[in-house]
């Protein structure tokens, strides 16, 4: 039998319960909501405050997706232009943060598609369900990392190392990792932004995490602590 992640879901009803509770709390907990409400009434200062709060986040998000500073700047501008255009369309169905990062993500992906041409489109349209049913890659290089992560290298070297690893990920995995693990969005928020299923978000995130772990451990692992995985000689099917 081939084990696939979708077949394994923990305690789903409890999760759904929690998710609906979280939804109800959105309006209470959203510290950006008052600014958006003022902005909607035409207060530019409030909108400017939203820009100041989010511009570097949008910039970083776009930079990570597109790996190019000029493109990241374009996305910042496009994102806030869209927000001005659509300011009355937002209905509080998500946090303001999620709304802004969602628009930014979709602008960035659109530009990425343009940059990569049709090749990319065909990848994204490829039935990702088929990827979901491919066996997970097994961890190959398993070793304890040197020192504390923060002390591993100079900040600059670290930044380069991380951005290289991130860029080696396929876009479909990279974007999910950025939204979930770097931006801290929930599975549901990420699914809404990318218009994919919850299980798709989960499996892409797992694949992203596994690949990044493999990559970084090759750079940061202590060779002497390297372990031979008990399953490394066997394929995942059993």
């Amino acid at each position: 039998m081939i084990v696939v992640a979708e077949e394994y879901s923990l305690n789903n009803s409890r999760k759904n319960e929690l998710e609906s509770l979280i939804k109800q709390k959105i309006s209470v907990d959203d510290e950006d909501l008052p600014l958006w409400q003022e902005a909607k009434d035409g207060n530019f200062k409030a909108f400017q405050e939203l820009m100041n709060r989010f511009q570097n986040r949008v910039y970083g998000l776009a930079f990570r997706i597109l790996n190019n500073p000029q493109d990241a700047e374009d996305i910042v501008q496009q994102t806030f232009l869209t927000l001005v255009e659509q300011i009355d369309r937002y209905r509080g169905e998500s946090k303001v943060k999620t709304w802004i990062l969602g628009i930014a993500t979709n602008h960035a992906l659109k530009l990425l598609r343009k940059r990569k041409g049709q090749y990319y489109t065909s990848f994204n349209d490829r039935n990702l369900d088929s990827i979901n049913h491919e066996p997970l890659p097994h961890p190959e290089y398993i070793a304890v990392w040197r020192d504390n992560p923060e002390n591993l290298a100079t900040q600059k070297e670290l930044k380069i190392l991380l951005s290289e690893s991130l860029n080696r990920l396929e876009e479909a995995y990279r974007t999910v990792f950025i939204l979930r693990d770097i931006e801290g969005l929930s599975t549901e928020e990420t699914a809404n932004i990318l218009d994919i299923s919850l299980s798709n978000v989960k499996i892409r995130l797992l694949r992203a995490r596994l690949q990044l772990r493999e990559d970084l451990t090759k750079k940061l692992g202590i060779e002497a602590t390297r372990l031979i995985s008990t399953h490394s000689e066997h394929p995942i099917s059993k």
């Binding site: 305690n11 530019f44 400017q48 001005v84 997970l136 398993i142 930044k159 770097i182 797992l206 995490r209």
Partner: protein, 87 residues
């Protein structure tokens, strides 16, 4: 629980602080399987690394430029002319 089963459930273990308490079989497997424990530690460290000190900052000159463009768009949308605003 096998290594394969744990691999598939890794997200749950990473994302939920209580997963190991609730799902005793995970904890039991991890305490007996060093490779899985190290993989789990590696993944946690990977996420921590990406979250820590990874801020990007746009150039200040660009900030000024794009905010002006946004403000013009704003004025257009809310039907204000520059004159009106300055008076």
């Amino acid at each position: 629980m096998t290594c394969d089963e744990l691999l598939i459930a890794l997200n749950e273990v990473v994302d939920s602080e209580t997963a190991l308490e609730i799902y005793k079989e995970f904890a039991a497997h991890l305490s007996n399987c060093n490779p899985c424990q190290v993989v789990l530690d590696n993944i946690r460290q990977t996420i921590t690394l990406f979250q820590a000190g990874q801020e990007y900052h746009m150039p200040p000159s660009f900030q000024e430029k794009y905010q002006q463009i946004i403000e013009s768009k704003w004025d257009e949308k809310f039907h204000k002319s520059k004159n009106e605003k300055n008076s």
